[in-house]
Symmetry: C2
Subunit: 224 residues, 2 copies
């Protein structure tokens, strides 16, 4: 099993960082193949623009996604994007770990989606959803929230469950053919005591182990 | 009426750019007060990190939003963020114009939300939704999509209306007290012929004029 771990948190001393480190340590023990995209540490470029391509100036009159497709076809994507494409092509499963900021991903991870889910590579005309070019891969979101779980209920503060707010991200992944598995959500992440954190670490490791086990047992999930 | 126009499109020759220019020309004619944040042209920083604050190193161990609150309180926010705060404080209505990328805003606009909706300025403990610190302001989204309108139906390609995908953005604005008005959506924006574009421009100008008129007639919408 090949796992790509995409991590987007700015604070190396955060609980997110601790969870990420536990995951990487577990992978060392379980020995799946792992590649790691640490977006903040890598200073990943968030803004999609024409500097992403080594194309002629004439292409600036095109749409970004068409220029992207053209650049991919002609191997003119910038090196940082090409590196992510190589990791995605290699991966069976992608984990995205991030704090929910304004009911979505941090901008740096949105930039990863904008720049890396390249037309021609991840999807194409008629190659979407069940026929998406990344078909056969799976992904899961690992998300921390500031609000407690009670806020993410239809009768709670946000008047909807977390699934409502993760929908646009799950839909994006499904659009390119990636099967999305149940997310691992850590509510009230800023207000956890030591015992609560310890339990979450245990639960997270169980989640990851189960993911790896189910993956190995369920060939239908495997990349083809 | 004070309008802040936040625009996020990378291509100066796009239909988005044409619509933006029509809006600015209309405002010149109608004479509301207008401030313009052209995120791509301004090279707006998208990534929220500790370079946004002139705080001591010790604060790096804090959460971004807590550091943000602290920086705001002590006037230690970076100049680009402070400038956006001044514009928001001044505005009665904010228009966000952007292409829908992966069922959300482009990363550069997500970065604006992450960095500019500062705790202590836009919201605070107990100061959210109807009591949000930006209460009294209104906003509307002007959005282009690649898919046709038929795709944004519960029985269409995306199995949900556009409101489902704009929900996390509207919810963000409502969280800080901003009342969200009906969005102006341009479907199939990449496949419009000249006549269709002309009709959309006319409709958009009508939408903006109606916005300004309703605004002037409805004092309950006015900032207090």
């Amino acid at each position: 099993m090949n796992i790509l771990y995409v991590y987007a948190h700015p604070n190396p001393s955060s609980f997110n960082s601790i969870l990420k480190q536990h995951a990487l340590d577990l992978f060392t023990k379980l020995k799946p193949n792992v590649k790691f995209s640490n977006l903040y540490a890598d200073n990943f470029k968030a803004i999609a623009d024409w500097e992403d391509f080594n194309l002629g100036e004439v292409e600036i009159n095109s749409q970004y996604f068409l220029a992207q497709q053209e650049a991919y076809k002609n191997q003119k994507l910038s090196a940082d994007i090409s590196m992510e494409l190589t990791k995605i092509a290699w991966a069976d499963h992608i984990i995205f770990q991030f704090p929910l900021w304004w009911f979505s991903t941090p901008a740096i991870l949105k930039g990863w989606l904008d720049r890396v889910l390249v037309k021609g590579f991840a999807y194409d005309a008629g190659k979407i959803f069940n026929d998406g070019l990344l078909k056969g891969k799976t992904a899961s979101l690992v998300v921390t929230t500031q609000s407690p779980e009670s806020a993410y209920q239809t009768n709670g503060l946000h008047q909807a469950t977390i699934d409502t707010f993760l929908h646009h991200i799950h839909h994006t992944l499904r659009f390119v053919g990636i099967k999305t598995l149940a997310p691992f959500v850590i509510y009230s992440a800023f207000n956890l005591d030591a015992a609560q954190k310890e339990k979450i670490v245990t639960d997270y490791l169980t989640y990851l182990e189960s993911l790896a086990e189910n993956y190995n047992q369920n060939t239908s999930l495997k990349n083809v």
